[in-house]
């Protein structure tokens, strides 16, 4: 059996650092949430060897300095995000898409409007519901385009067979199916489906996701093939529809200047 990337990285640490990492991960094993993070670290394949060693070394140094385990992991992850393989220019999809909570996007719109219109989160949510499915957003459009498509880090999918197509055009349109295929956390809350032109949003570098990008997210699973050009979602069990994993990339936070209209809102 081949040695995992995690064990290779762990073996590269000095004995003290490796012991700190081992102890932290062992403490997490039985935890309902952190246990999955621990398994994800063990299964990681997308970080280059040097970056994996860097992540674990940073984590160990924070533990040695007395930081709580979770704080140390979160901060080490923040310093090692967007380190997965960067997609080449020719590999970058023309259109990207993501699903996120309706409330989360309303909060993004509200924050982006501060000092420039001051729309509140409750108002933004009502406007999103009012204009869902419409191509004519009138006065709402500039506020929608100013809002970031994610918080700090944007996760996105695309149609690998036709990267110019809106990925949601070929995905199922039911709430439960979207949650399953994109491996979203458990929730009956309304989702907003956003699709955008990568070029019109400034074409930020796209990266294959890693455990550092996922941080403490329990629905994330590392894609097992180390040489895959991008990540793939791991559809949630039991997946009665047999939905296939979808391509997955991460990028820095960006505003929705290149958003495609209409956007959609999907309820459970």
């Amino acid at each position: 059996m081949a040695t995992s990337a995690f064990h290779l990285a762990l073996d590269s640490l000095n004995q003290g650092a490796a012991e700190h990492v081992r102890r932290a991960l062992e403490a997490w094993t039985a935890h309902s949430t952190l246990g999955q993070v621990c398994r994800n670290v063990a299964d990681e394949t997308a970080l280059a060897a040097g970056d994996f060693v860097g992540l674990l070394n940073d984590f160990a140094a924070r533990l040695e300095a007395g930081q709580p385990f979770v704080d140390a992991w979160a901060e080490s992850c923040h310093r090692h995000q967007r380190r997965g393989r960067q997609l080449l220019g020719t590999e970058c999809p023309v259109i990207l898409g993501r699903a996120r909570g309706l409330d989360d996007h309303a909060a993004s719109i509200a924050r982006a409007s501060r000092g420039s219109g001051d729309i509140t989160k409750a108002q933004a949510k009502r406007l999103l519901l009012k204009y869902a499915g419409s191509r004519n957003l009138a006065d709402f459009e500039p506020f929608l385009r100013d809002a970031p498509l994610g918080n700090y880090l944007v996760w996105a999918t695309f149609n690998a067979g036709d990267t110019s197509a809106n990925p949601f055009d070929r995905l199922p349109d039911k709430h439960a199916q979207i949650r399953t295929v994109l491996a979203l956390g458990s929730s009956d809350e309304a989702l907003i489906l956003l699709a955008w032109s990568h070029a019109d949003c400034g074409a930020p570098p796209l990266h294959r996701p890693t455990v550092a990008d996922a941080e403490m997210c329990v629905s994330y699973r590392p894609y097992p093939a180390p040489d895959a050009p991008w990540g793939f979602t791991s559809p949630l069990a039991p997946n009665p529809w047999g939905l296939d994993p979808q391509p997955e990339v991460v990028m820095r936070q960006l505003a929705g200047t290149g958003l495609l209209l209409p956007f959609r809102v999907v309820r459970a």
Partner: protein, 269 residues
């Protein structure tokens, strides 16, 4: 420090510390997406807790709000999440604390605008609506920065009074667009019999509004004119007599029910 203990095993102090850390993104939470704002995941978690733990969590939140309101200290990203959670919890005591804090802004020179505006936004979104007098008092503090929130707050409590604020709004297209959206949301909630009068009031103050601000609001007024009868008040009176106030009033225009301007079909969400 070992892995986090279940919430029902934490004492009051520990629970408060947990909540402060969770709001800062330093606790594992049941997020919908990896980048979801922490307060939304905390709300999701709260729904799964036993009533007693849920009460303790809300008490812990109120204590954090109280601590913030004493001196106004805190990391902006943490405060943003704390205030968002306050809006969602809709705790009347938290609303009073924040309302009082906003009136004390002039005494808290260290409090940055990026913290003041989220406080005002939380107040707009939390019940009960503050009176128009309350928002006027805030406008006296800083008309330039607070006018957008004051308009929202006054629209929630007294839409007609709010219209009188329009001439003093910043002279930017974006402020006009935001005002048009807020007025439209208010119009949606008005009883049909009051809608004509509300539109008329907005139209009446347009001439006093600054030029860049006026455009989007004037466009909103124009969109509410009944196409069939133009603006003839005598014709409108006649229609009202025949149909009654309710049936003759303009109805909510929702893009999902109306044809697209380019002739495309409406798209269902």
């Amino acid at each position: 420090m070992m892995a986090s203990a279940p919430l029902d095993e934490l004492g009051h102090e520990e629970l408060r510390a947990w909540l402060a850390r969770a709001l800062s993104g330093m606790e594992p939470l049941p997020r919908l997406t990896p980048d979801e704002a922490p307060h939304l995941a905390i709300l999701r978690l709260e729904k799964t807790l036993k009533p007693a733990i849920r009460d303790s969590l809300r008490d812990a939140h109120l204590k954090l709000v109280r601590d913030f309101c004493l001196e106004g200290h805190g990391e902006p990203s943490y405060l943003e999440e704390l205030l968002s959670l306050a809006s969602a919890f809709r705790d009347p005591e938290a609303a009073e604390l924040l309302a009082d804090l906003a009136l004390r802004f002039p005494e808290l020179a260290h409090l940055a605008m990026k913290t003041r505006l989220p406080v005002l936004a939380a107040l707009v979104d939390m019940p009960p609506p503050r009176s128009s007098e309350y928002w006027k008092a805030l406008l006296v503090q800083d008309r330039e920065h607070y006018s957008g929130m004051a308009l929202s707050g006054t629209l929630a409590s007294n839409p007609n009074e709010a219209v009188s604020l329009l001439p003093a709004m910043p002279d930017t297209v974006r402020a006009g667009q935001a005002a048009a959206l807020k007025i439209d949301l208010t119009w949606d909630e008005l009883p049909p019999a009051q809608r004509f009068a509300f539109v008329d009031r907005v139209r009446d103050v347009l001439a006093q509004c600054s030029s860049s601000f006026r455009g989007p609001v004037a466009a909103w007024v124009a969109s509410k004119q009944p196409a069939a009868c133009g603006t003839s008040s005598s014709l409108r009176l006649g229609i009202c007599k025949v149909l009654g106030d309710s049936d003759s009033s303009p109805k909510t225009r929702t893009p999902k029910l109306c044809s697209e301007p380019d002739g495309g079909s409406p798209v269902a969400a």
